[in-house]
Chain length 402, copies 2
């Protein structure tokens, strides 16, 4: 018997299940492993021996799994500590008990760190287990890749909701501002992608220290010019001293405002307080952008699925360890889009944050450059053909609820 | 020359432009009017003589108009006062100047009141102008109809985002509550529709006086039972004394909490304060549900379009005035769905609010009955085939921006 294990970790995405489906389907095409086990709730469930046998999922179940948003195995925020090796030993015990030789871990940069730590520990202790990472994150902040599965679908939802809410906002004559807030604590990729809708007047990113006076001057200019101002802000927008906009005024301002809520609410309030517009509307996209199946990107679903397959196929070489599969950075943004896969050491994927490039940011909060738009464009085009049940996009019953 | 005018008013919806397209297309099929003018920004723009000639829109433009969310003519909140007849006279002046004999007004119950007022005034003063209403509202609160165009698409978005955010929420093990807030100030239709996703544990509607202790007891029971609780609340949820949940604690509580924000944030805070869950996630759907073209309901688009056509066709009789077209209430929810249209006096559509029926509400915030589900089901099924441009659903450039 030679089995494998696949688990999901960190924040869900619209296509993290497509990567899971890819691993399962690859093993059906080439049954290198006798069983494919799913770990329930990431490492947390695996340590508790909570596994679900995914080997024989039907073609229809796999199709529906591919289009089901969020993490069908359940997720966790549990991080293995390099000091706490009893967790490592417990994990190997569980793997041994089920003849599991290889573990695939689908997650963000914390999870890639786990892959790295487990691999190093196994190698150092002569344990013949392999750990392979499959990245995902809506934040798109992994360093060595062109982009990360999950991001493109989140961006597609963000772009379409930007456009729809802009049209809604622009239908009125009364003077007010509109502020859309997106996820993205340390990197502004998702907020920046909203500019693809063509409707964004001002963009506030974590990558540019927030200057309240300069920002308000731009809002005023915009309102004076056309009596409307559509603003997108990343939840991670912050002042030069590191204070988040969402935390209230910068510490340098002497006192914090009493306004609660996120960055969007704060921006609206400071615009109203400054007398630039008498009112404003705030839309916090929050999780609505993260796991949807009504605006998945076809490119994203396909790539997530193929990355899962690629990880399985590379593992079937039998020599592959401590590696993460990813999408190669494009060499040119002017050529037709085509994803190329590669595998690299887990250490290169973990613990770094790739920010939105400074050279793609226009001054004065004016949005993004044409080069940035060329980067985003192919990622958000196309929709998968969904399977419907009772008039609604079908979703699989999560394995953690079975 | 005999021309007509069509204008939009009130909050945008996903399909208010489909009704506009229906009027324009009907006149292309039977050119009863020489010109079809669009009034920019509702009555406000008409009074300022801001018209746009829509007569010759191409088939492709009409297709794209049908799928463009929000109000392509622009909207207004301006309400004609029955006392301020100079507005009426000015309107007739503008209509005369453009040989406009009939005006179609697409809007909610305030707009239907405008139709009623204008018609009465014209008849009383022997003015040969006709005013015809075409209803729309995401709130679904018009009295004499089965449902109102715009509602079904908003409900569809709400249902799918409910399901997606539920799957996201349910992927975690940590104890927390999830609260989704929807629009609906006085009627809970949109909040109630979220129950169609099958994921809602507790539902808070404006129709049921909010009892904090009883509600918290249900949250506790739910968390004790399964360590999760997915709550939907209408922005109009309120205490027995009429205080909105969003305004803080009920006036009867003696003092208002300092928590700002909507009903969702308030519910989350009271759950955390009561020690039932250490944390919670709040998602405010807000306008993201109102004007989308990524989850339009096919039934809704078709009905909105056909209501526009029906209004035009009935007006071509030459005898029709002060009337509103609508969808007849179903006689049975057990038969296959089929929309039947009717026309009724504007006064019956205006100034009443149809609440979500008490007999469709389960006790203890437990959601909606099977009868209610039978009502919602056919409305949210099916998607229109969208026209794409550059990989994204095409939308028309709003006429108020040309």
């Amino acid at each position: 018997m030679r089995n494998c294990l696949v688990a999901q970790s960190g924040g869900p995405t619209a296509v993290i299940n497509a990567s899971l489906a890819g691993v399962i389907r690859a093993n059906q095409l080439n049954p290198f492993y006798d069983r494919v086990y799913g770990g329930i709730h990431g490492i947390e469930g695996v340590l508790a021996d909570k596994l679900y046998d995914l080997t024989e999922l039907s073609g229809r179940e796999l199709e529906i799994l591919k289009q089901t948003p969020s993490s069908a195995l359940g997720t966790c925020r549990y991080k293995l500590s390099r000091e706490k090796t009893e967790d490592y030993q417990r994990l190997v015990e569980v793997m041994d008990a089920h003849d599991i030789e290889c573990m695939f871990y689908i997650g963000g940069n914390d999870s890639m760190d786990t892959v790295d730590a487990l691999s190093s520990w196994a190698q150092a202790n002569g344990i013949a287990k392999r750990f392979i990472g499959i990245p995902k994150t809506v934040d798109n902040d992994l360093v060595p890749v062109d982009h990360c599965p999950g991001f493109a679908s989140a961006a597609k939802v963000a772009v379409e909701i930007t456009h729809a809410t802009y049209l809604d906002y622009a239908a009125y004559t009364r003077p007010e501002v509109f502020v859309l807030e997106t996820m993205g604590r340390d990197a502004g990729w998702l907020a920046a992608s909203c500019c693809m809708s063509g409707d964004v007047d001002l963009l506030v990113l974590p990558e540019v220290p927030f200057d309240k006076d300069a920002f308000l001057a731009q809002v005023k200019r915009c309102m004076d010019e056309k009596n409307e101002c559509y603003i997108v802000v990343s939840e991670g927008g912050r002042y030069a001293d590191g204070t988040y906009i969402s935390a209230g005024a910068s510490a340098n301002d002497g006192f914090a405002h009493a306004v609660l809520g996120g960055a969007g609410l704060q921006l609206k309030q400071m615009i109203v307080d400054a007398g630039i517009a008498p009112r404003g509307v705030v839309q916090d996209l929050s999780r609505a952008a993260r796991s949807s199946n009504f605006a998945q990107s076809l490119v994203d679903v396909t790539e997530a699925y193929e990355l899962g397959m690629s990880a399985h196929m590379r593992s079937a070489d039998g020599v592959f360890t401590s590696s993460v599969v990813g999408i190669k950075p494009r060499t040119s943004l002017d050529e037709p889009y085509s994803a190329q896969f590669f595998a690299g050491p887990a250490s290169e994927f973990a613990n770094y944050v790739k920010q939105f490039p400074q050279e793609w940011i226009l001054p004065d909060y004016a949005g993004i450059t044409d080069e940035a738009k060329k980067y985003f464009a192919p990622l958000i085009e196309g929709e998968p053909k969904l399977v419907y049940e009772n008039g609604r996009p079908a979703t699989i019953v999560p394995f953690n609820q079975r």
